[in-house]
Symmetry: none
Subunit: 214 residues, 2 copies
DNA sequence: TGGTTACCAGAATATTTGTTCTAAATACTA
DNA sequence: TAGTATTTAGAACAAATATTCTGGTAACCA
């Protein structure tokens, strides 16, 4: 996956694959590529495709027709739209209630582009209700895009249900030895420390916060 | 293109094509379809594909490998994508610098869906630098989507250059008689009052605030 | 009942398409 | 300069893939 420099021809090929795929919904064949960039020999195209694959720009599937596609990183994340179901509201006094978001029919959706939420995984959206989450720099009416998970890494922001306080909060999560530090996004606010991990229930990982203004 | 009713098998095929295409970036072959839905004969798959094409659900390209794709109408026609150029940074100590955003080649873009920013008009994005805009509930690293304008209505949020303070700020704008009230998004903060309108230069209207978390 | 239509199966065939091999031209390096 | 790696070309080959043909079953309808 060494990002080697590409020859002009390889760049041209890469560009063509992208354009062709976008336009046709399916990848080009070796011969189609050759024709487009002016290479008569399929072996030369094949050679350059191998180079591109080696450099990590594309992914090939052996012996398969049209078995070439742009690598995740290369792919223009533009056109790709991700539809996220709005699962409900989030506010301090209630735990995040999320049914099975795979359930087909939420009555509302938000369309995002892949570039906004790179991570794959099961996503859902919550509307913020009330201004009890000011410390998270999140206000009434904001929309939070969440990823369904019950585990986060240090430094990631999560929706957390604090069992002892009966409160949902959005905080940066830090496991520090046996103690958990929950850090507000607002740097002027003090963190919460929790010694008993059982009191911290992670309800999801916050991927994106949005505020739409009229 | 008569939307005929589909046999269960045809529905299954349609569904498979959709799922497969989504997953692999390329359409399935006839054999792959057959295997997936439990048809041993390629001719039967071919037969059903013809039916689907006839009914307008898919489009086929003759004699081409993987020459089947969902018709435009069948395909998930998710939202329109809007490409917004990243014009630079915004921080308190400097006025918003925006060249001609129509200029073709910004080196960076953000793709949004139309649903996120309903308003038309010339949009650009700014990255927030530093945490001097906490009062606007906007923090370091956030992205602000702006609309190019020098006028806003009451209650709208704007990027404002305060000439007397030499400071850029994001505030809700209210014209109250001869006085202008600039209200921070954070309800616990006090507004700024400006009596001299010349001291308030509106640099753009804030359409959307986004915070991406790892 | 007979006939028509929709649907299916298996196999053979034709075409497309990826792979491999040999050879040569070009660029790069010691 | 000699030598090595990169890139290109052409052709033959092998595999994947769409197409076509023959025939069969089941449902439906007059």
């Amino acid at each position: 996956m060494a990002k080697a420099k590409l020859s002009p021809r390889q760049q041209e090929i890469l560009k063509f694959i992208s354009r062709f795929s976008e336009e046709h919904q399916y990848p080009p064949t070796i011969r189609e590529i050759g024709e487009a960039v002016g290479i008569s020999s399929t072996s030369v195209v094949n050679y350059n495709l191998d180079k591109l694959a080696e450099a990590g720009y594309i992914v090939r599937t052996k012996r398969m027709s049209r078995g070439v596609r742009l690598a995740e990183a290369t792919r223009n994340s533009a056109g790709e739209v991700v539809r996220v179901p709005v699962a409900g509201f989030i506010f301090a006094s209630n735990p995040v209630m999320v049914g099975d978001t795979a359930q087909t029919d939420a009555d509302e959706y938000i369309d995002l582009t892949r570039g906004l939420v790179k991570d794959s995984g099961e996503l859902y959206a919550l509307r913020v209700k009330g201004d009890s989450m000011i410390d998270a720099m999140v206000n009434d009416g904001d929309i939070v895009i969440m990823k369904k998970t019950d585990r986060v890494h240090n430094g990631e922001m999560a929706a957390i249900w604090l069992t002892d306080r009966n409160e949902t909060t959005l905080k940066y999560f830090y496991q520090e030895g046996n103690r958990i530090r929950l850090q507000p996004a607002n740097p002027s606010m003090e963190p919460i420390y929790v010694d008993n991990p059982a009191q911290v229930q992670i309800q999801g990982k916050v991927m994106l916060v949005m505020r739409q203004l009229s």
